[in-house]
Symmetry: C2
Subunit: 336 residues, 2 copies
């Protein structure tokens, strides 16, 4: 029996419809490949550093800049959607608004090992990737033209990745994206009315209910949201109120690494290394207006279903798996 | 050079970035197959009528109900996301809202020929499909529980189609979907301020500018929107103000068929029969509050690009093709 559910964060309705289960495309078995020869044409492999623009930062012990020896490396995107140089110009044509493509578009190469992935790394390795996110986030938010910074990952071709070598991306934009704007707007309304953070309230309700909680440590909790757009969608949230990823404390980072690694490991094992995206939703630290109402988090969405005209046309999603059931399956995974 | 553009209808920013052109996946050549044997397991082929739920309507000359002889046939979806029978129940759990899955989910089988498609049909055949849309739309909107009716098509597997045989779908829901709600809200604001329909103003500006217009006949115009989410996206709009698809006049239907067939024919020939979705955005006739501000239209989106974490996370899209260029290419197609 299907059901409509409303996500309180975005005010978006979704449909849970177990009838649609045959639309899911889960890889049949886990193909575990952890090493192999360095592909000649992979620009992200060690020894091929000259095939990318010069690095912005790299974590390395010895070795030359733009040479091998790094374990995490950040570079400008060679085919950037946005560029940092030109001054921002806003203009209109009749009823239309536009501006030039100012922004930043960077790539975080997560590991020198072409065959590795976040779901197979150690917690320490995942933590170093998160530190690279943090370093770039806190640096990019100094540019006063930037209104938003989006950190995201596309795992596998079906999730929009164009290169196999494990990498994530950062895009900084002079506008707040619509989805985030909506989240911030609703959370602000909620705060103005209740004088409490909506996300903190969600965490309280999720912990009391328990059915959708998947993992918890001292500082982070992983749960399946009440109205998920996608089957096996997971959210990771700091347990204490924190509006911006840029405000994470050094002592909290190992806990975030542990939670993120755990979540990715669970879908790796349960869903046979499926394509997925994850996205860090965070306000900039300078956004004082939302510092009490917004609460940063990571959204992880396995890509098991193709989008149809229904989703494009309506903006609401049909999800074949109840989050209570997804959470139960994900909890039972023996994370090694 | 990339550019931000804002869609006035949804207030959504998009990025046009020619650098992303290598992300587009256009079929290499047109494979024209117009006939073949009837696949044994296709439930939509003539002679297999017993493999579907009993028909709701069918256009036929003679022949038995639920037997062959039809040229357009409408059936309930065998795996419906929503069902019409139960009474609507709204309820809450703590801060969450939900309701049971009441609604309608129907399939329009567009032709008995498994190998046909709308882009290859005659205008008369397309018109009959549109009449089936109209018949079901006007019937379903009589149910007072239904707040919205969405007619859409998924062409090919990559666009979310699970069956090859040409078909479209109708979903009626007890809520107005988010995307449409936003359109209606912005259009209403615009109307309240200017006392003019926003869509009518867009049409005026598009006709004056001309660069994005692709096709025009007495009653309809096809254009590439100023801020398209997808490469080669097209919108078809009635030239006179008309809030609901249910208000189309019989004399206008052949013109709509001609415009829709023309648009699908152009992408068929230019982009080698790409996967696509189209969606009819329309208010119900009963929505008197938006009758002056809303203007129904068809959105056609070729699916040439995979969605990434950036789109999921931000809700704004990176489109590698300027709509002026897409329109110019689409205009030049020799439509036969």
């Amino acid at each position: 029996m299907s059901e409509f559910r409303k996500d309180p964060v975005t005010n978006r309705w979704i449909i849970i419809s177990p009838e649609f289960r045959n639309r899911m495309n889960i890889p049949e078995k886990l193909e575990e490949v952890n090493s192999g020869p360095i592909p000649e044409n992979c620009p992200f492999c060690p020894g091929h550093e000259d095939k990318t623009p010069p690095e912005i930062i790299a974590y390395r012990k010895g070795g030359e800049k733009n040479g091998p020896g790094w374990w995490v490396r950040v570079i400008p995107n060679k085919f950037p959607a946005l560029m940092i140089e030109p001054p921002l110009k806003r203009r209109g044509i009749g009823m239309y608004d536009m501006m030039n493509g100012v922004g930043a578009h960077e790539v975080i190469i997560e590991t020198p090992n072409h065959y590795m992935s976040l779901g197979k790394m150690t917690e320490k390795e995942v933590e170093d990737v998160l530190w690279a996110y943090y370093d770039r986030f806190t640096d990019l938010q100094k540019d006063p033209r930037m209104e938003y910074i989006l950190i995201f990952k596309n795992h596998k071709r079906e999730a929009g990745s164009s290169l196999e070598h494990p990498h994530s991306q950062i895009i900084a934009t002079p506008i707040v994206p619509k989805r985030v704007m909506e989240e911030m707007k609703w959370a602000k309304k909620y705060y103005d009315y209740k004088k409490r953070c909506m996300f903190c309230d969600i965490l309280t309700q999720e912990k009391e209910d328990g059915r959708r909680v998947i993992f918890e440590n001292d500082h982070f909790i992983t749960f399946a949201p009440f109205a998920p757009r996608f089957p096996y969608e997971m959210h990771i949230m700091p347990k204490e109120h924190q509006p911006s990823f840029g405000m994470i404390k050094p002592s909290e980072m190992p806990h975030l690494a542990s939670a993120l690694r755990d979540a990715l490991r669970r879908i790796y094992l349960l869903l046979n290394d499926p394509p997925y995206n994850f996205i860090i939703h965070s306000s900039l630290q300078s956004r004082k207006d939302v510092s009490e109402s917004y609460h940063w988090h990571i959204e992880i969405v396995p890509r098991l279903i193709k989008m149809t005209g229904f989703e494009w046309g309506s903006g609401f999603h049909i999800n074949p798996v109840y989050p209570e059931e997804a959470a139960s399956q994900l909890r039972e995974v023996n994370v090694t």
